[in-house]
Amino acid sequence: MDKTIASLREAVSGIEDGMTVMIGGFGGSGAPIELIHALIDRFVQTGHPTNLTVVNNNAGNGHVGLAALIEQGMVSKLICSFPRSADPRVFTDLYLAGKIELELVPQGTLAERIRAGGAGIPAFYTPTGYGTDLAKGKPVEEFEGRPYIRERWLKADFALVKAHLGDTFGNLTFNKAARNFNPLMCMAAQTTIAQVSGIVRPGDIDPETVVTPGIFVQGLVEVAEPAQEEALNRANAVYPEFVQ
């Protein structure tokens, strides 16, 4: 059993029109830029996939990564907690023009809904959002004298995540705060593809330090020196690069 995928292109080849795709990261930290760009490459060449529902904490920054995916018009709906960034123009313009749908979810509820999707919990109660506009239409129930709202699980067809090391069984480690939503999304998708800085043999990762056990990962692709969204944005990068 070896979950290695030979190329980024192959890694994203199963994503079809209309699918729900979870994309890891918090801002640029832990964002799988190369997987996202591979998906854009496919779209530029084939016109697919499009009409995607994307789950991410944010809505992209600048003109690379998630912002570039949105800029291509591939995303019809975004489920996120914070669609603002240093340069959120791509999303903002489409949203204000009514060309992209937004489901705004409090950050902790977003994390918990994704975990619930991965853990087989179809619904749970949370105090978060009670009495606010974001609770509208959601069932309310009191437990021990305190009101809570009911939230539903969130699942996806694919998760694209960025990890640090992965062994061929799919066991993953992450780098510092680049962990964030990535391990949760690995749990909640039918198919999880992880880009990793290095693919190692089973046994090379200390079993005590595995953060995402391989059962949650279906494919691994090596990107030895991944780009950082912040660095790209500071260099005013745009993806795809404009080719004359």
Partner: protein, 222 residues
């Protein structure tokens, strides 16, 4: 009567496990399945108490009592092991991440109901992870003797003992036959050549359906 021994039933169940499958084996008889992975296939075994890809039992005296399986027996590590806590372990179970769970049974009903945790109100009840496994794994199979020690049917129309789960079992490996559960019926797939369908039916508490060919259940001496 000619019948398979428990190890042989386990051998047959092992033949249906695909390469790379994530598998949970119930305590006792199902644990034997791990011994018979077909050549060229590598299954990854999960234990409720927080290990993936554990290995065989250590030799006596070499036990590490912090490295045990759900049956509280000592195991060893294989390359690629991961440790995790109980909530993550049952996220794997409940969240549909296991490919197959192979469990023992007191009774299996033709609608897929399983009873394997309680023999009734007497004594101390204990459930462990069985109720989670039956509603979590993508495929729930049972391995069991075809009848009880005192000759009663274990494959029944409706379970009489307290249920572990409703409509959860899809395949049954017994000492005499292999059956699938489809549309709330036992569908006979394989049987020992030494027993006729009528004889098998007489030992089964609900109707055996035959859809297409019934293959011989052939198992080596193990």
């Amino acid at each position: 009567m000619n019948k398979l021994n428990p190890t042989q039933i386990a051998w047959r169940a092992a033949q249906d496990i695909a390469d790379g499958a994530y598998v949970n084996l119930g305590i006792g008889l199902p644990e034997l399945v791990a011994r018979f992975q077909p050549p060229g296939r590598q299954a990854i075994f999960h234990t409720e108490n927080g290990i993936l890809a554990f290995g065989e039992a250590p030799s006596a005296g070499q036990e590490d009592w912090d490295l045990i399986n759900a049956g509280k027996k000592a195991v060893t590590l294989n390359p690629g092991t991961a440790f995790f806590h109980h909530a993550d372990s049952f996220a794997m179970v409940r969240g549909g991440h296991l490919d197959v769970a192979i469990l023992g049974a007191y009774e299996v009903a033709e609608n897929g109901d399983l009873a394997n945790w309680s023999t009734g109100p007497k004594g101390v009840p204990a459930v462990g992870g069985a109720m989670d496994l039956v509603h979590g794994a993508k495929r729930v199979a049972v391995i069991t003797g075809h009848i009880t020690k005192d000759g009663k049917a274990k494959l029944v129309k409706r379970c009489t003992l307290p249920l572990t789960g409703v409509q959860c079992v899809t395949r049954i490996y017994t000492s005499l036959a292999l059956m699938d559960i489809e549309d709330e019926h036992f569908v006979l797939r394989e049987k020992l050549s030494s027993i006729s369908i009528d004889e098998l039916q007489a030992l089964t508490g609900a109707e055996l359906h035959v859809v297409g060919a019934v293959a011989d259940l052939i198992v080596p001496d193990v």
